[in-house]
């Protein structure tokens, strides 16, 4: 707001209009920016790089499992491959991806603020993320870690020869990055809303990110202290988790899952918020049961903290504790189902447009339902004991993490791409890649449910020959999935230069972010908006030719 204009009216027809992208050039203007939109783009680039690296490890795993023999990787290298895959995907991709990219970009825009409450802390959180990432890559290039992403004690504290401490420090720092993001979002939502933007007018994406942020600030410090304890045990031979010194390895699992189970909701909740936005826009309806969907996000955040021990049914916890945790795990199904039913109820008798973001939303609903229902199966103690540490579990969490989080992220990225860049993506290619992702995903992971049920354990580099057919199917699916992920990387970059120019609101969508220009000016709104309408007031928005902006 350094303009000296005496009048609040700023001339609009200047070409090119000053926006956050052309306001300042050069590396320094990016690396020292405090603009939440630019920081979101910094995150976009960095999480994409980590997704790519994690994906390479996924391909190594799938190639190794193409044959029953251990031929491509040695047993040790296979352990390292799935550990790097898990750690990179969980800590450097899934946890930051939606909040730090889409959330960073959209939270201030959606509530009519000029920026997040603490712009410099926001930049700091990106630098922490990058520091952690570089540290982790350094660790990886120096041999990596072989404990699995869960680094269970006593293997991690006592036996493994790999560099647990360095990887631990990387995860610790990345944790603080996510704490700062969460803290920033909560304060922003509380204190920075535009006049008239009351709590019951907030977009559901904001509710979802608010709930996520609560988990981030309550859960992440616990994993931080757990990592510190693992590191001091390893370095100074304290006996905190070592039973020979009076410690208890189960305590590690309790502390670890106290964060790491809620972390699953850190990943999925923001994507659920994205899906609410997409469904409302492309069904042209107010979301069915807005309040229930909003409250269900908060309920998931609260219940999510009470279920961690369902990861430990076979670890030797008491049967009664297991029964209570089993029951509580079922209860998380209720708010999750509230969301799915309300999304589908929104679709009922709606005029639906099958644009790419909506295809991803449909994919999300289907895959998340499968992932969620198999989650209920795993919350049942008897079934869990039967399939613990088999590919059934692997398939289950990939359905939630990849089928859920990534579908939501890609849908959201396409939906807001015109807002972020001012350009449309090529719709035909995008639909094709959405198809690739859906088919490839199911072909990769559905056979793993069967494999797991037949008894194939996870984390082995060899398997009996009778499992080969299903493993070949899975690897074939992974190749299709890889094409589905590479295509957007190519055509989205292509669209930066050649995509059709998008106007302020190409989807004719509700929401404050569409009421400013594309790309938005540095301070988001030429004039602070005053909100006088409910969220998703699609019945008040006049129809417009929706196909227009997508024309090539």
């Amino acid at each position: 707001m350094a303009t000296k204009a005496a009048s609040p009216v700023i001339p609009v027809n200047q070409t090119p209009k000053l926006n956050y992208l052309n306001n300042g050039h050069g590396l320094k203007s990016w690396l020292l920016t405090t603009d939440h939109k630019r920081i979101a783009l910094l995150y976009l680039v960095s999480v994409s790089i980590f997704f790519f690296i994690g994906g390479i490890f996924a391909m190594l795993i799938r190639l190794e499992l193409l044959t029953p023999e251990g031929d491509l990787l040695s047993a040790d290298n296979y352990n390292k491959a799935f550990t790097q895959h898990g750690m990179i995907m969980v800590f450097f991709f899934l946890i930051p991806v939606v909040p730090a990219v889409l959330g960073n970009f959209l939270v201030p825009l959606m509530i009519g603020a000029k920026d997040l409450a603490f712009p410099r802390i926001n930049l700091l959180s990106w630098y922490l993320y990058i520091t952690a990432g570089i540290l982790f890559l350094h660790c990886m290039l120096n041999g990596g870690v072989d404990t699995g992403w869960t680094f269970y004690s006593p293997f991690s504290t006592e036996y493994t020869n790999t560099n647990i401490v360095e990887a631990g420090i990387a995860v610790f720092i990345a944790g603080f990055s996510s704490i700062f993001t969460g803290l920033n979002f909560i304060v922003t939502v509380h204190r920075m809303r535009a006049p008239g933007m009351t709590w019951d007018r907030l977009p559901l994406f904001i509710w979802a990110n608010y709930a996520t942020s609560l988990i981030m600030i309550l859960g992440t410090p616990v994993i931080a202290i757990t990592i510190v304890l693992v590191a001091v045990e390893r370095l100074f031979h304290l006996g905190i988790f070592d039973p020979r010194l009076g410690g208890d390895p189960l305590l590690f699992q309790h502390l670890f899952w106290f964060y790491s189970h809620p972390a699953v909701y850190i990943m999925i909740l923001p994507s659920m918020g994205v899906i609410s936005e997409l469904i409302a826009c492309f069904a042209r309806k107010r979301i069915f049961g807005y309040k229930f969907v909003a409250i269900s996000s908060m309920a998931i955040a609260v219940f999510g903290f009470l279920v961690w021990a369902h990861h430990m049914f076979v670890a030797g916890i008491s049967l009664y504790a297991a029964m209570i945790f089993s029951f509580l795990s079922f209860s998380v199904g209720v708010p999750s189902a509230v969301k799915v039913f309300n999304w589908t109820a929104t679709l009922y008798k709606a005029s639906i447009t099958y644009a790419t973001p909506m295809l991803y939303a449909f994919g999300f609903i289907g895959l998340f339902t499968i992932g969620g229902l198999t989650g209920l199966m795993l919350a049942t103690i008897g079934i869990d004991v039967h399939v613990t540490d088999t590919y059934f579990v692997v398939a289950h969490f990939h359905y939630v993490m990849v089928g859920g989080v990534l579908m939501g992220y890609l849908g959201g990225l396409h939906f807001w791409w015109p807002k972020i860049t001012g350009r449309m993506y090529p719709e035909g290619w995008a639909k094709l890649s959405a198809l690739f992702v859906f088919v490839g995903f199911n072909l990769t992971f559905f056979p793993q449910f069967i494999l797991g049920y037949l008894g194939m354990p996870r984390r082995y580099w060899q398997y009996p020959p009778e499992f080969q057919v299903l493993n070949v199917l899975s690897t074939a699916g992974a190749s299709i999935l890889a094409v589905g992920y590479l295509l957007p990387m190519i055509y989205l970059l292509w669209s930066l230069r050649y995509g059709p120019i998008a106007d302020a609101n190409p989807w004719n969508a509700a929401g404050l972010e569409w009421k400013t220009s594309s790309p938005p000016p540095t301070f988001n709104f030429d004039e602070t908006p005053v909100v006088t309408w409910e969220a998703y007031n699609y019945d008040e928005i006049p129809e417009k030719e929706l196909e227009a902006p997508v024309a090539r």
């Binding site: 920075m192 616990v222 031979h237």
Partner: protein, 247 residues
Amino acid sequence: MHDSRAIPGPASTTTTQVATADHEVHNPALLHHFADAQQQKNAASLGMWLFLVTEIMFFGGMFCAYLIYRLAHFNAFAAGSQQLDIKMGAINTAVLIVSSVTVVLAVKAAEVGKRKLLTGYLVVTVLLGMTFLVVKGFEYKEKFEKHHVPGPSFNFTDKFDDNGKQIPVNSKEAELFFSLYFAMTGMHALHMIIGCGLFGTLAVLAWKGHYAPSYFTPIENAGLYWHLVDIIWIYLFPLLYLISRHS
């Protein structure tokens, strides 16, 4: 800031510094993305409280471990606890409580705009914090001398209570007590060091006149941090030094 909220409200006592349309008069501490100074203050304060929540969760992990192991290995924890120097612990508790008072006085001095008084209280707070650390250092030194530091040279033999009764102690379990003792007090001391650095910086800035009754949020927020670190010690002292004395 062409915002209806920029109209001076009851909270904006400093009406001259409320943003006007052309920013001729501008509070230098007001960042561009806030509508007014009150909003900025509220945001910073909420942010600090949330940060304190994360600190509680951070220490919570260790308190949880302490609770579980104290129940599991009660004798060793009682014996270990009796080896701690209760006098030094008590002195440190007193020092910290006094430092919390000086923090409160510093905030009050900032509120009424007494620059020299504010600087004085901040400096006294830093000195008290350093006193705490020095006393803690002597305690750690004693632990090294008595071989009570976990590791290869750890040595802990059976102890006798006040009535001359022998308490059988598993040395490994006692080592666990001292592991937790060092982890918890060490992490607390790290927070004290950060706090001293923070208050030292604030003292310099206060001396240079950065704070006025219209803007002293950093003093308030740093004060909240100091109080929390203080309260954590208020829990550590009885848990580690006191409650196992008369078992």
